[in-house]
């Protein structure tokens, strides 16, 4: 549902009724897209809106927030048993911004545990089902944030993207999702998985809505030292672009059929060429080494002493926290902590972490060269259609599904997933990658492409 449609509803039946209806839909939903639904608070805000007391650019609009983004006093679980009872004492920067603009936080969206996954199957709270086919996954790690947009269980949502975690569910759910340039949106309050790779980003049913949410959350925040201090304003732009197809990024036949049709449409207005990125064959490996290394350190703080999952039976500190971690983390999280610790350990650091950082430099260099010739680069967002639940039993197969999305995070570039129609009743997304801080160009291009395929479902 677009903001414009939501506003019409609110106009005719009042915000309270519109929100109640949405809450009912969420309650009846089988998608499992929310971990926490903020029912009372949302209704209170809706009443406030109806009394004319809620002001701002997002006044009265229900927004879902991924459950790794801190919300003061509201459960923020990271979809982990470890934080299943954790209520932050502060709001993330982006949540402060939502509140300032009058948004109604309707719930905390389900996700892969600590954002580690591509299907939301690693969630302690269970998998998120795809609104287009409930036997299939909604993607991940921001699976809940994608599904709620497609299923009208929110109007807007926030996800986080470490290696494709916004773009993948956007593609699988047939909605728009943007991973902004590293540093455009403050990460303050985002519970980290891999700090040097991730960004918070918007998901929506239209480019205009996506752009509005980005305008709200982008901007200066001195609490995040990696914040670029830049604002974002969406301005119409209508120009012929040089579009490069990345040769190394592909997909299976279903996906490529749809992708090639999209390319033909793009050719009608824009200049299309092909570009090769030799470093990309190492990108997936480099990505996982860096992400797991950072994760192994980020997740060291969870010891069940000050907050989060705790054990009744006390023991010596060392034994106690080992047990807490053994019980509190799921398998995928443990796997990444172990692999990350290994990659950073003495004697292996140079072989893994340092080498991965060198690959990162090469990836950045390849992108830089490509942007000398092209304004935007395109690929299928995901190499396959939404997976069946349980299909990706083997972790390595799951990691490989991120092959088209991770180079963007290694380079810190912005990338958008645009729905370009369906194959076999399932959505396909087009990934559009832009140069640093070129979000405006990306969104205008995405709008033009999206309009040619009809929106989402």
């Amino acid at each position: 549902m677009r903001i414009a449609e939501w506003k019409e509803k609110v106009e005719s039946q009042g915000c309270y009724d519109a929100v109640s209806e949405m809450l009912e839909r969420i309650e009846k939903s089988r998608l499992n897209a929310y971990i926490t639904v903020c029912k009372d608070e949302a209704l209170k805000m809706a009443e406030k809106y109806d009394r004319g007391e809620l002001k701002g650019r997002l006044a009265g609009i229900p927004v879902a927030v991924k459950d790794n983004i801190s919300t003061k006093g509201i459960l923020t679980t990271c979809a982990s048993k470890m934080l299943s009872n954790y209520r932050p004492v502060f709001d993330a920067h982006v949540v402060e911004k939502l509140k300032q603009e009058g948004a109604i936080i309707i719930g905390k969206a389900n996700m892969d545990e600590f954002a580690m996954g591509t299907t939301t199957e690693t969630s302690y709270f269970g998998v998120v089902r795809n609104p287009h086919d409930e036997a299939r996954v909604a993607g991940g790690s921001s699976g809940g944030s994608g599904a709620v947009i497609a299923a009208d269980e929110a109007v807007l949502s926030l996800g986080s993207d470490t290696g494709g975690s916004i773009r993948c569910p956007a593609s699988f759910c047939g909605v728009y999702g943007l991973k902004p340039t590293y540093g455009l949106v403050s990460r303050y309050g985002l519970i980290p998985y891999a700090n040097s790779l991730e960004q918070i980003g918007p998901m929506a049913d239209s480019i205009e809505d996506l752009a509005l949410l980005l305008e709200v959350i982008a901007g200066k925040d001195t609490r995040d030292s990696t914040n670029a201090g830049r604002e974002f304003r969406f301005e119409p732009e209508d120009r012929k672009l040089r579009v490069g197809i990345i040769a190394e990024m592909g997909g299976n036949d279903d996906v490529m059929k749809r992708f090639n049709e999209a390319v033909e449409v793009i050719r009608e207005k824009h200049e299309v060429g092909e570009v090769s990125m030799p470093s990309f064959k190492y990108a997936l490996a480099a990505y996982y080494i860096i992400a797991m290394s950072e994760a192994s350190s980020n997740l060291a703080r969870y010891d069940g002493v000050r907050y989060g999952f705790a054990l009744e039976k006390l023991d010596s500190w060392r034994r106690y926290f080992s047990k807490v971690r053994a019980e509190g983390f799921g398998d995928e999280v443990k796997r990444r902590i172990m692999l990350g610790s290994y990659a950073l350990s003495a004697g292996y650091y140079g072989k893994y972490y340092l080498k991965a950082q060198k690959v990162r430099t090469l990836v950045i260099r390849d992108f830089k060269k490509a942007f000398e010739e092209y304004d935007v680069l395109i690929s299928p967002t995901m190499p396959a259609l939404p997976f069946k639940i349980g299909e990706l039993a083997d972790p390595l197969t799951m990691y490989k599904a991120d092959v088209n999305t991770v180079p963007v995070n290694l380079a810190g570039l912005p990338a958008l997933s645009v729905p370009v129609g369906m194959v076999k009743g399932l959505p396909v997304g087009l990934q559009v990658i832009g140069n640093y801080f070129s979000e405006n160009t990306l969104l205008n291009f995405g709008k033009w492409v999206g309009e040619r395929f009809g929106e989402g479902d």
Partner: protein, 471 residues
């Protein structure tokens, strides 16, 4: 003893800064209840992010400059990963392969000779929290954690292994403390201000690291014990195992903590939530704002006040003492001031375990100057001055009131002459005895004058006066 080789890693808390290293929690927690100077950042709450305190970088740059170290234009923070209950994030933000500064040296005076203690590096890091125990550590059922200290700015100063005795290590630490206090970034009196890890080996033998010695005196004791232990082993034909030991301050011994094989792997990597610090601008800002350092001050004091090096070199040991001296020297003869401060006041303070900073509050330099002025004008005896100082430090009060109450104002010379004349007139027998050569008779006459003045006359001066009168 130069078969002994010692290197030190000194952790210095920049405890005179206003706020912590990565958050804006105030640093003045030393008098506060536990866990009151904390926020999401220093508690390591998920999603909170560190932001570098620029004042801390400035202070660190100042120290590195004063230690003659080479400040690196580009310096990076790293995560040092290890589990310990006082470490809320499960890692400490420290520096690894791109420290703030490399090299540098500190000059000490060892047995009358100057020696340069070469430094390896200077880097910044955050302090962990602090464990404490109800009752004693051995009987307590659980540990308590106070995060007030968590995130406090530390400097780690690492020396080359160039010291050859525990005494040398102590001299180095004293000098280092002096430099830090001159820079006004450090107060060595505060708890946990300086903690030391010492590496020691007897040439050719295994290197032993003694961890976390928390006092100045502890370092010398720990090293002395360790040398004795290692020499004993070697004498008995045993080898010294390479290991990490802990100094048990209560028992004055070192105990084994872990062997080389159990060494921790800290899995260092760059802290992704912080950006590298470019120091060029900070260096420019700090240059020229460095205060006068000890050796410069020593020369200036000699030049400006005409005092001897024996006084100057003592006065500079404590910047507050030197400042005190300069205040007093504005009002009385500097040489007199120097000798009274160095020879008397300093001793009286040491005896009471007082710092000059504390003395400054209780016994203001202007008042001390006033006292010395009385002495200059012969209105109080040397003995009287000492008594006033002691009373002032122990009981407080105005110095005039102390002198009045204790009757310490010296009697004017004319009056003593008058009393001497009286004593001579009233004791003809004693005069006769004196004149016939009996020395004790003089003592008797002096005693009479002392009686008349209720002890306020100087016995030696009085004796001289009587002798003159009877000659």
């Amino acid at each position: 003893m130069d078969d002994v080789v010692i290197g030190l890693e000194v952790h210095v808390q920049l405890n005179r800064l206003r706020t912590k290293l990565f958050c804006s929690c105030p640093l003045n927690y030393h008098q506060s209840p536990p866990n009151t100077h904390v926020c999401p950042v220093c508690l390591g709450m998920p999603g909170a992010m560190p932001v570098i305190n620029k004042e801390a970088v400035k202070a660190a740059v100042k120290v590195a400059m004063a230690l003659n170290a080479e400040i690196q234009p580009f310096t990076v923070f790293d995560r040092k990963n290890y589990f310990y209950p006082d470490l809320p994030k499960g890692f400490q933000i420290s520096q690894y392969d791109r420290p703030l500064a490399l090299g540098g040296y500190v000059t000490i005076e060892l047995d009358g000779q100057e020696k340069r203690i070469q430094l390896k590096r200077v880097h910044m890091e955050e302090d962990p929290g602090k464990l404490s125990y109800k009752g004693s550590i051995t009987t307590a059922k659980y540990s308590l954690i106070d995060y007030n200290r968590s995130g406090a700015p530390l400097l780690e100063i690492v020396t080359e292994p160039v010291m050859n005795s525990p005494k040398e290590a102590r001299l180095f630490l004293n000098k280092l403390r002096m430099i830090l206090e001159y820079l006004e970034v450090f107060d060595g009196d505060l708890e946990g201000a300086m903690r030391v890890d010492a590496n020691i080996s007897i040439r050719g033998s295994g290197r032993v690291e003694i961890k976390n010695i928390s006092s100045f005196k502890g370092v010398e004791k720990a090293l002395s014990y360790e040398i004795m232990r290692q020499k004993n082993l070697l004498q008995r034909g045993r080898s010294v195992v390479r290991e990490t030991r802990h100094f048990d301050e209560a028992r004055n011994i070192t105990v084994s903590l872990r062997s080389k094989e159990e060494e921790q792997d800290y899995r260092y990597f760059p802290e992704p939530d912080l950006v590298p610090v470019l120091t060029e601008e900070i260096v420019r800002e700090v240059e020229g704002t460095l205060p006068e350092m000890p050796e410069e001050k020593r020369e200036r004091l000699k030049r400006q006040y005409g005092i001897g090096d024996n006084f100057a070199k003592v006065l500079i040991l404590d910047v507050k003492m030197a400042d005190y001296f300069e205040e007093v020297a504005k009002l009385v003869d500097p040489k007199l001031a120097a000798s009274w401060i160095v020879d008397v006041l300093r001793g009286e303070l040491n005896y009471r375990d007082w710092s000059f900073a504390k003395c400054w509050e209780v016994f203001k330099p202007e008042e001390f100057a006033k006292l010395l002025k009385y002495f200059e004008e012969d209105r109080i005896t040397e003995k009287g001055v000492v008594e006033v100082i002691r009373t002032k430090l122990d009981e407080g009060g105005e110095i005039d009131a102390i002198i009045q109450k204790k009757g310490l104002f010296a009697i004017p010379k004319e009056e003593i002459i008058k009393f001497c004349k009286e004593a001579i007139e009233e004791n003809p027998k004693a005069v006769e005895d004196y004149l016939s050569g009996k020395r004790q008779a003089l003592n008797f006459l002096v005693g009479q004058v002392m009686k008349k003045t209720r002890g306020r006359a100087d016995p030696a001066d009085t004796a001289k006066l009587i002798e003159e009168m009877l000659s």
